[in-house]
Amino acid sequence: MKIQHYEKTLKDLMALVFKAEKLQIDVDSSIDNIDNWDSITHLNLIIALEEEFDVSIPDDDVGNMINYKIILHIITELKEK
């Protein structure tokens, strides 16, 4: 149940940060198919994730978070730890 909540929050956040329609964000969303995903908005995404999920994302993971699935995985791990 928690994971479903993360999914919804993550989709909302990604839509906000990348200025996309909520419906456009799905499990296949990635740095390759989202127009506004660049190094600057990537940092904005990190800020939003850290704030909204109340986690501190390790440096190594920041660089790896290049698609929806990986981000969800990392966030879930951080939350369930």
């Binding site: 909302d12 956040l13 906000l16 940060v17 200025k19 660049d38 190094s39 600057i40 940092l43 904005n44 800020i47 939003a48 704030e51 909204e52 440096d59 920041v62």
Partner: protein, 584 residues
């Protein structure tokens, strides 16, 4: 909603600010408001906060960022904006400044200070025609520690801050970011980890506090400052209800436990009235009762001479406020309304959302502080003496003259940097760094081709490819390997520039010209007759769209996202870039 977003900005989360901004971005307003931000660290999270701020005052924002670490260079060609914000951080004046600055000898510290002073003069001079420039004062940040010893960093900050205060022209406001950091705590304000990785020194919380702390200046240059404060009377200007408690039953004197807060509010209101704020009253009362208090109560400080208009009647307060607006010929959006009653506050909030409506707090001891905050943030207090600031005019002129004698134009400035470059040919030591540059560089990258270390190694070994790497130094430090050119031979025996890129740390210093001239000379001396080049447009590399044309290449063909160029070397006379020296 409009004012309360700004009023409560500090309490909004990043996501909430994004939501406000997204919601308001669907509306198109009549007026534009342009903010230019120059910085030597990454400050992009300011974008969304400033956009939401501007939109909440019914204007269309355009927030633009200069090139990373190019404050001086960008200041030469900055278009006129409504507001310019400059983040010049000591932390990034050299690599790992907090360590490396402490290793400098005294003379080197003085040179560093002299260099930055000159830059400040150039910046102020170049931005003299901008309506408002916010320049952050220097702050000697050091690992969150409380250091009382004399560090070079704090010495530099002190010297430069004194210089800023002395040199600042009338269109410059100095922002004391140390104060902003103090209010949220340096542990919350500074993210050293993100600085090391992404050159982002400040946290989102800091950026929010920063915008909240400059909101008065933003409102002033947006022309959205408030001009009128409308006070209710009972339990707003005095404790008690005059119609019920009688003139003897109400309290507002400094020696009354309940009255003191109202005393302070009245005292401030008098000061504000003297400083140009229009004070009005709007109270549901009998006219005579209120007039008797104002004219005869011994503790009443806010007397008739400070009040521009009074609506004391039994009419709906929204109606009264509309009357006041037309009487004073001002928009309701320049009004602040203060009342203690839930009913009146909600009525005005719903009927006149453009008025900033403030309720007298239930914890009455916070009332004067809260009101003081509202006024300092939303009003423009004029100095009591209206003398023209001759001193400032004089200062402004002096800065311009000083700067002009030092650097008449950007070339003089660039010369003063003493930039030198060293170019390496097929250097295997650089493979890792070159691959990294091809993968990371977006702005100054003509073709944006990404290569792995393995591919770079193959290029270096191949006879058909030349690989040049560029090292850049100046009087103030070494930027390391910050440029790459990959040139391969075509089927027609011409040379083709497959990749040409510079790291953003060294752009706008004419290094690219020197690098390209070197390459042209290199092939001319080898008897090559023609060099071909290409610009492939990406989302990020608009900066270099005319590079080859400016250097003297001929445009051969143009497609939607690419331009092909060539240059004939037999007609090409070797050129030199005078602001950059090449070291063999």
């Amino acid at each position: 909603m409009v004012d309360s977003f700004v009023y409560n900005l500090r309490n909004y989360s990043y996501t909430e600010i994004l939501e406000v901004n997204t919601m308001l971005s669907n509306i198109n307003y009549h007026n534009e408001f342009n903010i230019q931000i120059l910085s030597n660290t990454t400050v992009n999270p300011l974008n969304e906060i400033l956009e939401a701020f501007v939109r909440s005052f019914r204007m269309n924002p355009s927030v633009e960022f200069g090139n990373y670490d190019n404050i001086v260079q960008d200041s030469f060609s900055l278009e006129k904006a409504n507001l310019v914000i400059i983040f010049y951080d000591l932390m990034n004046i050299i690599e790992h400044a907090h360590i490396n600055l402490e290793l400098l000898k005294e003379i080197e510290v003085r040179e560093m200070i002299a260099k930055i002073k000159k830059e400040i003069q150039v910046i102020f001079n170049n931005l003299a025609d901008q309506p408002l420039v916010l320049f952050n004062m220097f702050y000697p940040y050091k690992y969150n520690e409380l250091h009382h010893f004399q560090s070079n960093l704090s010495f530099i900050a002190r010297e430069l801050n004194a210089f800023l205060a002395e040199q600042k022209t009338t269109n410059v406001e100095l922002i004391d970011i140390e104060k902003i950091i103090a209010t949220i705590g340096s542990k919350n304000a500074i993210e050293y980890k993100k600085f090391l990785k992404y050159k982002m020194l400040y946290s989102f919380q800091f950026f929010k506090s920063y915008v909240a702390s400059i909101d008065n200046m933003l409102l002033r240059c947006m022309g959205k400052v408030k001009k009128v404060i409308v006070f209710d009377c009972d339990n707003t200007l005095w404790k008690g209800i005059v119609g019920e408690d009688g003139i003897k039953g109400i309290e507002m004197s400094s020696d009354s436990a309940k009255g003191i807060y109202f005393h302070l509010v009245q005292k401030m209101a008098v000061e504000w009235s003297k400083k140009g704020i229009l004070i009005c009253l709007c109270s549901k009362n009998n006219w005579d009762d209120v007039m008797q208090v104002i004219d005869t109560h011994e503790a009443m400080i806010l007397t008739s001479e400070y009040i521009i208009s009074m609506k004391v009647n039994w009419t709906n307060k929204a109606e009264n406020l509309r009357h006041l607006a037309s009487e004073l010929n001002l928009g309701l959006d320049s009004f602040v309304f203060i009342d203690d009653s839930d009913y009146e506050v909600n009525l005005v909030k719903t009927q006149l959302p453009e008025v900033l409506t403030i309720q007298v707090p239930k914890e009455i001891e916070t009332y004067p502080i809260m009101l003081h905050e509202v006024v300092t943030r939303f009003f423009n207090l004029k100095p009591i003496s209206e003398d023209l600031d001759k001193l400032n005019q004089y200062k402004q002129q002096k800065v311009r003259q000083d700067a002009l004698t030092d650097f008449g134009n950007i070339d003089d400035y660039l010369m003063s940097l003493g930039t030198t470059i060293k170019i390496y040919h097929n250097e295997t030591e650089h493979i890792k760094r070159i691959a990294q540059l091809t993968q990371k560089t977006n702005q100054f990258n003509l073709t944006t081709r990404r290569y792995t270390e393995h591919e770079i190694e193959a290029y270096i070994k191949s006879d058909n490819t030349d690989l040049f790497s560029l090292e850049v130094k100046d009087n103030y430090g070494n930027s390391g390997i910050t440029g790459v050119a990959i040139i391969s031979i075509t089927k027609t025996q011409a040379m083709y520039i497959d990749t040409f890129l510079l790291s953003c740390r060294v752009i706008s210093r004419n290094v690219e010209n020197a690098f390209l001239y070197f390459i042209l000379d290199f092939y001319k001396s080898k008897g090559i007759t023609s060099i071909q080049a290409e610009y492939i447009e990406s989302k990020k590399n608009i900066l270099v769209k005319d590079l080859y044309g400016n250097i003297g290449f001929d445009l051969d063909s143009e497609k939607q996202f690419s331009k092909r160029y060539s240059i004939q070397l037999e007609n090409y006379n070797p050129r030199k870039e005078k602001t950059v020296q090449i070291i063999k």
